[in-house]
């Protein structure tokens, strides 16, 4: 929450006075004046990235029926797709 302060100069009006010749008027405070504030909000945009909805991080998935995705030309290196869980604990 933010506190907004605004200094307001009192509105003045005129009144009559005595003790002078002719038509004399003085300036006096206007105690009945109403003050109205209009607050206009302006937006400052900040890019905080793309909001994903409620999804689960991708798991990599089961490796299908054959159990592997690929192998090298010697048929010796097979690639495992499925993500291990907690691999850093093996350190």
């Amino acid at each position: 929450m933010e506190i907004i302060k605004k200094q307001v100069l009192q509105a003045l009006t005129t009144g009559t006075t005595t003790g002078c010749t002719g038509s004399c008027r003085i300036i006096i405070p206007d105690l009945t004046a109403n003050y109205f504030f209009k607050i206009c909000l302006s937006q400052e945009t900040q890019d905080i990235g793309f909001f994903d909805t409620y999804t689960i991080n991708d798991y990599g998935g089961y490796d299908g029926y054959d159990g592997y995705d690929g192998k090298n030309i010697n048929n010796t290196i097979l690639l495992v797709n499925i993500e291990p869980i907690g691999i850093d604990n093996l350190l």
């Binding site: 409620y54 991080n57 998935g61 097979l78 495992v80 993500e83 291990p84 604990n89």
Partner: protein
Amino acid sequence: MKIIQSFYQIDNKTCYNIGGNNDNYLLNYYSMLLSYITIKEKYGEVAMYCNKLAYDKMLKYIPYDKIVLDETSIVDASNYRQEWGMLKFNVFSQQNEPFIHIDTDVFLFNDVLSGYINKGKYDGIVQSIEHDKRYGVYDSFYHANQENLIKYDFINDNLMKRSIDKYLTVIGYNNGVVGFNNLKFLEEYIESAKKLNDLIKAGVFVNVKNQTIIFEQFLLYILSQKNGYKIFEVLPEDDIINIGFNETGNKHGYTHLLSGNKYVKNFILLIRNKIIQNYPNYIKHIDEFEKTINNVNFTFLSHKDENHLMKNIVQKW
């Protein structure tokens, strides 16, 4: 709480089809040993259910607290690739008290089970929610079989739709850790798994990309959802959603080298080094096992993100 593991070796098969004729099943030894060590340290006793081939080749070099030798014919070489998960149900059907089954490729570096064991308010326990966006094992099965899943009373479809709205995909439970306080729930699970597997084999259900995943993991999710059973998830759903599976495991001291990960050479070396450095009392078991390894044909695997994963590990080190 009774903690069990199981391993049945059928010929030289592995649950991950490496292709060709090789001895890769022997590589399971390293994850089995580390799995046993970490569970033993935290929870005291581990019982292993196995067949003789698995025992003779690997398990006798691990000091389990109890061995239950069990020859079964429900899965053989002809249906192993599709139905290997039925071996687990064979073990489940032998249980008559609450238990937790932990896969032999799961390592518990922290006490992640006491929230389930001590509170006693849960019907069962699983590792976590799971989905498979890459191949759509869960999605394609559900969408292709929605009517039959309702017809054969496997799902409450309104709850399924709510779940899909929430996760934006069809999910199941990963059973790296799975257990039951509620034995009625266990009985229903075993019966439903047999029924679903039989219907799959009869061709009633289609788009079955991974048969075991469907009758084991998808089934556990839809059954507990339909019957309102309360499930404890070892890996919190919010963490999985926010930081992903691997980092959630890192955060909670829980490792699961699921599928082909346990045949990745660098990962095996990490396991072996971990045992040697952190659990030196078990080095003698590795020595005994490795003396038996002669003239073997190993086909080591690589992980598609191996450079990234290993770099992360080295940086933390």
